[in-house]
Amino acid sequence: MQVYKAPLRDMRFVLHELHNSAAHVAEIGQPDVAEELIDSILEEAGKFATDILLPLNASGDEEGCRYENGVVRTPKGFIEAYKKFCEGGWGALASDPAYGGQGLPEIVGKMVEEMQCSANLSFGLYPGLTHGATLALQGHGTDELKQAYLPKMIDGTWSGTMCLTEPQCGTDLGLMRTKAVPQEDGSYRISGAKIFISAGEHDLTENIVHLVLARLPDAPKGIKGVSMFLVPKFLPTEDGRPGARNGVTCTAIEHKMGLKASATTQLYFDEAVGWLVGEPNKGMRAMFTMMNAERLSVGIQGLGVAETAYQSAAFYAKDRIQGRALAGARYPDRAADPIIVHPDVRRSLMTIRAYVEGCRALSGWVATALDLETKAADPVRRQEAEDFVAIMTPVVKALFTDLGFELSSMALQVYGGHGYIRDHGMEQLVRDARICMIYEGANGIQALDLVGRKMPAHMGRFLRGFFHPVQAFIEENAADPKVLPLAKSFAALQQATAHIATVSLKDPEEAGAAATDYLRMFGLVALGYMWARAAKVAAEKLPAANGDAGFYQAKLTTAQFFADRLLPQTSALWSSIKAGKASMMALEDAAF
């Protein structure tokens, strides 16, 4: 059974106690976003997730989207849920007030996103893509386009997509073929075929706004010749209503492993009317604004699914009785002990829990930087925040989504055969979580982004935002033996970083060979740092905690588990990194 209640206590801990939301909202000039306000939003969002979205998760998966004659129907209940979603203003939470958004800090927005992903990943994709599209439009669109589209997208009346992928062009966007021909009136005609486009067609909104990457006639070859265009499904009329049907049609939807309630479409653009967003041939720059935000969001999808997997597994482990505790029966009055008494089941639960809470803490940290990047008064702080987001984006995306899949699979294991059959919904979580490792840049590509672009940029300047605070924390707490495992793995990460930076100067393949291991190592240290800080906060609060003592005690124990059992993986990763590419690259292509 999919069990989910928003982990409000932990979210409050992350926001207020770990990342000091009060100081944060003051720094970004929103002191009125007080703790109580944040808490009430989280509570409402939690209710919405559990009451409205969760019940549609399994049924949506069962039913899937249906395609008929260019029209896509979402599963039963989605239209109503989406209406409520818009009415609740959930899509406009962190959007710009200038266009009808509520302008709440990202630290709140990201928590709410997590809840939606936990409760119903497929559903979350529709508004999620819209949000990303508004960011790209806001950053690079003309005022005219912004006025015409942003308010409708932010209030959810219209939805958005991002159209990059074509049959021959996935990771390598330089291979793109879709064309854009300029017209005398300043618009463009877009022609070409796109595949795998999420939310490319559906029945939730009255209009769909596609952000399409395409080539201008005189564009340079490769990635430097790609531009971004806005192509609406219906051309808006003078008074802003959906008017004439534009030349974009949905030719099919994909049949896929999971995420079945999300329409993954094939789109055909036939002389569709579009407008340039950003500069000619600078489409990637415009798209990256969106992709950075999206990549973090995809990371949070992984986290969201893992949370539900955890809650479901914890529920089942206490419920299902099999065998006896090794140290002697714990519940002698029952036929057997609940499986939660078994160390191996504990291992799974603790592992999932430690990762999930660590990831949440980390996403909170990155979210503060998302806010600071645009809202800090001091330009130096803004730059620092931007650097930090740059380095953490690939880490969060790949680490969280790898974990999302690994952990939901681990949770399924707790269910045994009952996890594998469909009834309990565990296999859905595994299937749904799997896509997050692929889209928005496959995780291997994230790792390359980390070692190949972000790491060497400005002689390692992006790294500073992570390495300096961690080193400072270790120095400040040098006397605390609990910080020792972090210090050790951090030192290894420093060595690995310097090592990769050096070897890849001579041989870029070395960087490529080390990339995935390095990203995981980086991620583990980042989580280790979050846990060390969380433990420190918990230890400080525990003596006066009263009713909350259990919470803090559990934090301390989970922190210890992370340091004891998970963080040491960094040593093994460092060993593989040091081994280099030799054995990986030795075999001839034909030997495979």
Binding site: H458, M459, G460, R461, R464, F467, H468, V470, Q494, A498
Partner: protein, 775 residues
């Protein structure tokens, strides 16, 4: 050694005359600089005096020190011509007019001491014409010494002798120009343009006309002609802006007039109307309003613009993006064969320049090495034309010339199936006109690592340094890292080297043949390490460096550093810890760390304090030395010559200067052996420093500058740390401070600075833009 002249007369104080005079004075030799009478005014020496005054303000400076300028005495040819009798050599650098030159020669004939060599710096008039009608006495003493502009910095001197020129006299001049003036002397025949300009003008003319012909933009042409062929990255158009567009028509006309009708130059030389228009409108290059490139300052903005040949107008500079260059990489043959206009252009210009070079044998000289040397030193090419031919393959070149119906010069034909150069038994050989290879012999007394390497393997070596046995018990430590930047590996190999010299050798020379001795510590590595908070690693690099510098200083054998070019930061600290420095005159040394928000951490503060404290000219008391060092180091002052380095005490009175780059290693080795004779390591020095009160005084001075807007926020932070180190930290005036204590202070302050965002921003900015950040 060269017989030193005591006084030289230079007649003509234009840019070249004055520059030659300055270089002679730089060598420590007196100069009588004569020019004509001024058109007005009562000061009869005004012309030459004005030229000297202007030279003192010129950048890059013709003079190596203010003292050098004082060795020049100005005069005029009406009142002072007879004084050439005081001089050991007379250099004529007057306008390029035969009649004027000959009149002057006749007047000189009357007053000079018989047997005094006379030379002309003409670049266009053949020696045979210059001496026509002059008595044999004169022709025996006469030759052409053709310097390049600016004479201080351009290392080429073309020497042309006539059939009557006294060979001993010519040797004497050659030796003086070599040893005293630091020039590489290339013997040329009396043919038009001699070597460098003959080929250089051919190349430049071709490059311009072919750019228009093949429809390249100026940026594209410079990108093709520049880096790929090892030509300075200014390329051809940048170079023409530098020398002046207005020269081109004159030079080309004179070249065309002097060359025989069948010379290939005529085929590529044509009138380019747009250049005439540019000159008429004042666009004569950098000295004018701009040239092919210009800086448009209208509207308060500074926009770099480039001339568009198609429209004749300027447009914003556009970086050349040429996939052909990327595809060809270092393969010049691939570049010259690339389909399309880029390959066609590269071939049309360089293919023909290479062939033309071969044709200059035997017209302009009998030796290919002379032509290569002339182009390397006269045009700053990295490789001479024959070296380039060896890179693309003589056979390929011959075949292509054939295929396109061009004549193949006999010298090129001779290289068919082989190369122009080869190495035989560890010695570099050149192909001669007889088709035989002969050893390339350097002038007497030159020792080059480049040559040693052909015949030997390094004694020690790692990724950043090598050690060579240069004979007679002397080892040479060579930096081989990128830009000779200093890193862990250099320090590691230095440790091993010191141990080895101790056991088996007499002395150590630190020297290399890169364009700079060392630009200092590898800042990229340091910044990366700082960004990942690898403080221990950085600190241990500082500590190891300090340890190595101390070991160098106190080693039981002499250490001689022989720098040329930049010796900055850590590079300068190597000099400071050597027993002696044999510096190339063009050494630019300084402790520049403050520019990137750091301070000298390898004992630079310590050594400079010691030197200034023991300088007899300094006032007494603990404060003058720190104040003096503070002034230099906090402003990151760099000496613009070895002579200036002396003034800064980066060089001691006992340190010596070599004028000719090629002679540096031999001089350093000689010095090392001299010292080895009965060597005793120096005694550790203890000095008295002012402590906190001194620090406060220095800080107050900086605070004052900050108020006036002359010091930035981070300057204050950096100088604060520097003040702490230089005043001895918490020391008391009544105590003496040991070297170790100053080193500790250096290290601690260095580490504190490295942790500041201001310093990290400075380093990053320097690495990314090459310019200091004023934050």
């Amino acid at each position: 050694m060269a017989e030193m002249f005591t006084k030289v007369a230079v007649i003509g104080s234009g840019v070249m005359g004055c520059g030659i005079a300055a270089q002679i004075a730089n060598a420590g030799v007196r100069v009588l600089l004569l020019d004509i009478l001024p058109r007005e005014g009562s000061n009869r020496r005004a012309v030459a005096e004005g030229a000297i005054a202007k030279a003192l303000k010129t950048d890059p400076a013709p003079f190596m020190s203010a003292a050098a300028a004082r060795l020049i005495e100005a005069g005029n040819i009406e009142d002072d011509l007879a004084r050439v009798a005081e001089c050991d050599w007379i250099v004529e650098v007057v306008v390029e007019r035969l009649d004027i030159k000959q009149t002057l020669y006749r007047r000189l004939e009357a007053v000079r001491r018989p047997g005094t060599p006379i030379s002309s710096n003409t670049s266009t008039i053949p020696l045979s014409q210059l001496t026509e009608g002059l008595p044999e006495r004169f022709t025996r003493d006469f030759m052409i010494t053709h310097f390049f502009n600016p004479p201080r910095y351009m290392r080429l001197m073309e020497l042309v002798t006539g059939p009557h020129t006294d060979a001993t006299l010519a040797d004497k001049i050659a030796l003086f120009c070599d040893v005293a003036l630091g020039k590489s002397v290339v013997n040329c025949k009396d043919s038009p343009g001699f070597i460098a300009n003959r080929l250089g003008v051919f190349w430049m003319t071709g490059a311009v006309t072919q750019t228009i012909e093949h429809g390249l933009t100026i940026e594209e042409a410079d990108a093709v002609m520049g880096r790929p062929f090892g030509v300075p990255k200014t390329g051809v158009f940048g170079l023409m802006d530098l020398v002046g567009l207005d020269l081109m028509p004159h030079v080309n006309a004179s070249m065309a007039g002097a060359l025989p009708e069948n010379d290939e130059f005529h085929a590529i030389n044509r009138d380019i109307p747009i250049i005439g228009r540019l000159i008429e409108t004042g666009y004569t290059g950098r000295k004018g309003k701009g040239g092919f490139y210009r800086l448009n300052k209208t509207g308060g903005k500074r926009v770099k613009e480039t001339l568009d040949f198609a429209t004749g107008e300027y447009r914003p500079e556009r970086r050349a993006e040429l996939p052909e260059l990327v595809a060809a990489g270092r393969d010049l043959r691939a570049l010259m064969s690339a389909p399309g206009r880029v390959g066609a252009y590269a071939w049309a210009v360089m293919g023909h320049t290479m062939a033309y070079a071969a044709k200059l044998i035997p017209e302009a000289t009998d030796e290919i090495v002379a032509i290569d040397e002339a182009m390397r030193l006269g045009y700053n090419w990295k490789h001479g034309p024959f070296e380039l031919i060896d890179m693309v393959g003589a056979d390929w070149l011959i075949e292509r010339l054939h295929a396109e119906g061009f004549a193949v010069p006999p010298m090129l034909q001779r290289a068919a199936g082989r190369s122009f150069y080869r190495v035989q038994n560890g010695i570099r050989q050149q192909l001669g006109q007889d088709g035989e290879y002969t050893d390339i012999v350097r002038p007497h007394g030159i020792l080059m690592l480049e040559d040693i390497k052909l015949a030997a393997k390094p004694v020690l070596k790692n990724g950043s340094a090598s050690v060579w046995d240069i004979g007679d018990g002397v080892l040479c430590f060579e930096f081989t890292s990128k830009s000779n930047s200093l890193d862990e590996q250099i320090m590691a190999l230095l440790g091993k080297t010191i141990a080895l010299v101790k056991k088996e050798y007499k002395a150590l020379v630190i020297y290399n043949e890169g364009s700079n001795f060392s630009v200092g510590a590898n800042l990229g590595l340091a910044l990366f390490a700082a960004n990942i908070a690898a403080w221990m690693q950085v600190e241990s690099l500082i500590a190891t460096g300090q340890e190595m510098m101390q070991k160098l200083k106190y080693a039981p054998f002499p250490v001689v550093s022989a720098p040329s070019g930049m010796a900055l930061g850590g590079g300068c600290e190597f000099l400071l810890h050597s027993d002696a420095v044999q510096a190339h005159a063009e050494t630019y040394a300084g402790l520049v760390e403050c520019g990137v928000g750091l301070l000298p951490g390898w004992g630079g503060c310590k050594e400079m304090l010691g030197r200034w404290a023991s300088d007899p000219k300094m006032p007494k008391g603990p404060m003058p030395a720190p104040a003096k060092v503070f002034e230099m180091v906090s402003t990151a002052k760099v000496a613009k010559s070895a002579a200036e380095a002396r003034e800064m005490l980066v060089l001691r009175p006992s340190d010596r200067v070599t004028m000719n780059r090629y002679r540096l290693l031999a001089d350093a080795k000689r010095r090392a052996l001299e010292l080895a004779a009965d060597y005793k390591a120096p005694e550790p020095r203890e000095i008295v420093l002012p402590g906190p009160s001194g620090r406060v005084a220095l800080n107050q001075a900086v605070a004052g500058f900050a108020k006036l807007g002359m010091a930035t926020t981070h300057d204050v932070v950096v100088s604060g740390e520097l003040a702490t180190v230089l005043t001895g930290g918490d020391t008391d005036i009544i105590d003496t401070v040991k070297e170790g204590k100053i080193l500790d202070l250096e290290r601690e302050s260095f580490m504190r600075l490295l942790r500041t965002p201001g310093t990290l921003a400075r380093i990053e900015h320097m690495l990314e833009t090459g310019k200091p950040l004023r934050n």
